[in-house]
Amino acid sequence: MRLSPDQWIFWQRGFVKLNATIVFTWGLMLVLAVGSKLVTRKLSMDLQRSRWQSLLEIIVTGIEKQIKDVGLREPRKYLDFLGTLFLFVALASFCNIIPGYEPPTGSLSTTTALALCVFVAVPLFGIREQGLGGYLKSYAEPTLLMLPFNIISELSRTLALAVRLFGNMMSGAMIIAILLTITPFVFPIVMTALGLLTGMVQAYIFSILAAVYIAAATRSGKSKANTKSKTGAAPAPEPKPVTP
């Protein structure tokens, strides 16, 4: 039994291997890039729009709204990074309906790469937002005593991101493989449907957690009175347009 698609090797010469993880990742990249290029080739502003443009608009505005809800007030800045993360993970688990496909996120190398992207992106966004000094000061936020714990949490949440996605995807594939040997007909299909659901939830959680980390990094150093008034004031104006 294969634990991950890493062990499914298509082509090998020397130490250069072309395993299923790389091939399917390239496939997904191709689908995402070519698909969005094809859709955005002829965008229209009038009432007549193609279906694909509507689909893409729904996805993009949906992601933008979710990012805004997390607390990043300018979602356009982070839309490309977080949106790509979400679309890649979501498509990787959605393509499970294609026979012979294995999600590349079921391999620890892919999820580690994605988590490392988040690990690098969080300080970058933080530094861009509040400068190098301001960002570094956020590590010693309540007191200087918390410095090692902040660094540990930075590392451990990266590990958690990687292992969580890997564990969920791998367990889905593993359960289906085990069920195929026990009850070959109906139950694997049910578990595949459940796997689609968990895949979407995991994609959502991965990008939302990345957004939460970025929000924490970009906002923590700013004046506390500012954030406090914002948290107090932000929920209040929202219900007002609903009540009249």
Partner: protein
Amino acid sequence: MDSMTLVAVASIVTAGLTTGIGCMAPALGEGRSVATALTALAQQPDASSTITRTLFVGLAMIESTAIYCFVVSMILIFANPFWNHVIAQATKK
């Protein structure tokens, strides 16, 4: 029992125990959090989107502990370093 059997028995028993015990606590935690979220939803249906999002993030955090246990038991069964070591020792002889 020679050391090979001992390693195999320890690995398999520990793998089962890891997932078995490691799923109980997260299940209790998730049940409590979902119950609380449902109560909150019933009291404040307007805040449903915030509650649902926070619930999902929290559930993912809780569930990751169970996932860690599962990953550990999968490593013990399919990619056991001690087992590989014993096999290497046995083939060397």
